[in-house]
């Protein structure tokens, strides 16, 4: 069971982690340099041997440490989760060590996180884009990236030449299409929030 004694024992002699108060599961801040060793400890000694998810959060350009990688580990023995927060030290070129040597499942998760956020995972065996095409110049889940996208050429030059098509920003007429997040589910579903403009008439300033 995850209880206070467990957490106490986990913290003992490890000044690179600190507990965050969350209601749902044990959440720990971890320094990037100690991540691999700590993951090994959780996997081998504490039975947290299932990597459930690895993703990241962009806290915005003003934040002190902008990018934060989030890992969820699960223990089939304890039947509980541990969440690890790893703050990336450099806002300009964020990078943390890859844990794909500890959890092979992290391989594609880290590629996706790299693809969407541009966070580099050092010593990753094959760190290249997984969803967008290789030459795509942006990281779509960063805060500054517009939902509609940015105009770039199509991935295949010969197809673009024949068809004249390119990657255009999606039309946002009536958008953004977002959930309000409160109220009944039937009312909170994503829908057009701004119908004051169309493709023909400009958005009022």
């Amino acid at each position: 069971m995850i209880d206070d004694d467990f957490v106490k024992a986990l913290l003992e002699g490890r000044d690179f982690i600190s507990v965050k108060h969350r209601d749902d599961c044990l959440t720990l801040d971890c320094l990037p340099d100690s991540l691999i060793g700590f993951c090994k400890h959780l996997r081998d000694d504490q039975t947290f041997d299932l990597l459930v998810d690895l993703t990241a959060v962009d806290h915005g350009e003003e934040a002190d440490s902008r990018f934060q990688v989030v890992l969820h580990l699960y223990s089939l023995i304890h039947k509980s989760y541990v969440r690890l927060h790893v703050a990336c030290p450099d806002n300009q070129s964020p990078s943390i060590p890859s844990i794909s040597s500890v959890f092979p499942a992290a391989n594609w998760h880290e590629r996706e996180t790299f693809d969407m956020f541009g966070i580099k995972f050092s010593d990753h065996p094959n760190l290249k884009r997984i969803l967008m095409w290789d030459d795509y110049p942006y990281f779509p889940l960063r805060k500054e990236f517009p939902l509609a996208g940015i105009e770039v050429p199509l991935p295949a030059a010969d197809v673009a030449e024949v068809t004249g098509a390119d990657v255009d920003p999606a039309p946002m007429m009536g958008g953004p299409f977002v959930a309000s997040g409160n109220g009944r589910m039937s009312e909170a579903e994503p829908r057009a929030k701004d119908e004051s403009w169309t493709e023909e008439s400009e958005k009022p300033l």
């Binding site: 990236f145 517009p146 939902l147 199509l154 991935p155 999606a170 039309p171 299409f177």
Partner: protein, 188 residues
């Protein structure tokens, strides 16, 4: 002997009931028609689809091939996953920018004459995906003959679209097109 008699009489009644069409007594073994009509008639009843299944629309496409909706009533049950053998690409699903290249290449690998059906909201306009990753309509890269609304469309809607396509094929100037040089696509 009795069986032979029965067969003969039933054949006779069949001929009488079909007099509005081809009557071998009147016309012998010759049918007079236009070449366009014959070619189009053959083409529109043997449209072999290239199932470009990219999302949930592909499930409805499969349903329309199954016995309840039975696309083979129209001679279209021969789904060919090889573009060289197929006539009509049914784009069933969300076309991402990454996939658009593949859609175009497969289209170019299909032999003429060829048609494209954009099945569902995503293939027609991008649908609900107004996002950086999704092409806003497959007609950006391939010429579309029939658009089907729905998210996803029911099999009846797809069958209706295929019947519309049959009508379109029926009106083509196929003989003229036979001598026409195929458009150079530049992609293969």
């Amino acid at each position: 002997m009795r069986f032979a008699c029965f067969a003969k009489s039933s054949r006779k009644s069949l001929m009488i009931s079909n007099e509005v069409g081809y009557n071998s007594k009147v016309e012998g073994e010759v049918i007079v028609t236009r070449a366009d009509s014959v070619i189009n008639w053959i083409r529109k009843h043997s449209v072999w689809p290239m199932p470009m299944g990219l999302a949930c629309c592909a499930i409805e496409l499969m349903a329309s091939a199954a016995s309840r909706y039975d696309i083979s009533r129209f001679g279209m049950e021969v789904m060919r996953f090889s573009p060289r053998q197929s006539d009509c690409m049914i784009v069933a699903g969300t076309v991402t920018y990454k996939m658009a290249e593949v859609v175009r290449r497969i289209y170019d690998q299909m032999g003429d004459p060829k048609w494209v059906v954009a099945m569902g909201a995503c293939a027609s306009t991008g649908g609900m995906y107004r996002s950086y990753a999704v092409m806003q309509g497959v007609d950006n890269v391939v010429p579309v003959d029939v658009y089907v609304s729905g998210c996803p469309p029911r099999p009846e809607a797809l069958l209706d679209a295929m019947m519309k396509l049959q009508g379109k094929i029926g009106n083509e100037s196929s003989v003229k097109n036979l001598s026409k040089k195929p458009e150079s696509t530049g992609v293969s």
